[in-house]
């Protein structure tokens, strides 16, 4: 029992993953940029910076995984 054809399903999950992954990276970079000039010795700032870094890593993994899924990488 399927909702749609396999190529359509593959296209939708690819767009959802790569799209969200790409936007996620941009979003985290913008947030990280706002922390520029603030001291990393403050644990709150350091936590935020680390969180955004992890977010960027996740976004990149999403994009790379989608490219692999579609045979680009």
């Amino acid at each position: 029992m399927t909702l749609m054809s396999e190529p359509m399903f593959k296209a939708i999950i690819s767009v959802l993953t790569a799209g969200v992954g790409g936007l996620w990276v941009i979003h985290e970079l913008v947030l990280m940029n706002r922390l520029r000039g603030k001291g990393l010795q403050d644990p709150l700032i350091r936590d935020q910076w680390f969180g955004y870094f992890i977010g960027i890593a996740i976004g990149v993994i999403g994009v790379v995984g989608t490219l692999r899924f579609n045979g680009v990488l």
Binding site: M1, F9, S14, Q41, I54, I58, I61, R68, F69
Partner: protein
């Protein structure tokens, strides 16, 4: 010098206004549990697309409850805790189901679930150290939880499953180690006056 600024901060204390437990935001959070039997059914029958739709619905509802809390002004400490519990139950259940049916690598899922349990235990230790009902806000773990929903989706859709699961595990290990230091070792900021 360990001041309030340099100490580990706790999440903001509960708002002053009393919020009833039964409210629109918590109702949406609770409705997430309704997707789980359908997810299990779809995985059991081998309906990949339906399983993906159900975990996607569960993840979207996770975003909607926060929106409802803002729209209906019904944010509460209980709501935050209930949301965290719902995340753990829904995504933990999803991971176990996809691993049990061989849709995701068992070793990686076991590692992810174990780290999730360890993180929960550390949150209780943090609460005990703080001496009050509080939740450690981890920016990194928030992102990990969101990505966990995706992990289940990758398994149900058969999308680069091994790649996604084995790249996710080390990121989660690094995050749990970082949070462990913050929750178990670093000083805790005093509660803000309400």
């Amino acid at each position: 010098m360990a001041t309030a600024a340099t100490a580990t901060r706790a999440a903001a204390p509960a708002p002053r206004r009393a919020v009833p437990i039964i409210n629109p935001a918590n109702a949406v959070t609770a409705s997430r549990f309704l997707t789980l039997p359908f997810l299990w059914w779809a995985v059991d029958r081998g309906y990949h697309q339906w399983a993906t739709l159900f975990i996607f619905t569960c993840a979207v509802l996770d975003k909607v409850d926060g929106l409802m809390a803002r729209v209906f002004d019904c944010k509460s400490a209980f709501g935050e805790l209930f949301d965290a519990i719902a995340d753990g139950v829904c995504f933990g259940f999803g991971l176990v189901v996809v691993a049990a049916y061989g849709w995701a690598p068992l070793g990686s899922v076991a590692m992810i679930v174990s780290l999730g349990v360890l993180n929960t235990i550390m949150r209780f230790v943090y609460m005990k150290r703080a001496g009050r009902a509080t939740n450690y806000k981890s920016y990194a773990m928030e992102r990990i939880v969101a990505f966990t929903a995706y992990q289940i989706g990758f398994a149900t859709s058969g999308m680069e499953v091994k790649f996604f699961y084995w790249t996710f595990a080390p990121i989660m290990i690094i995050t749990v180690l970082y949070d462990a230091k913050r929750m178990l070792i670093d000083p805790i900021a005093p509660a803000r006056a309400s």
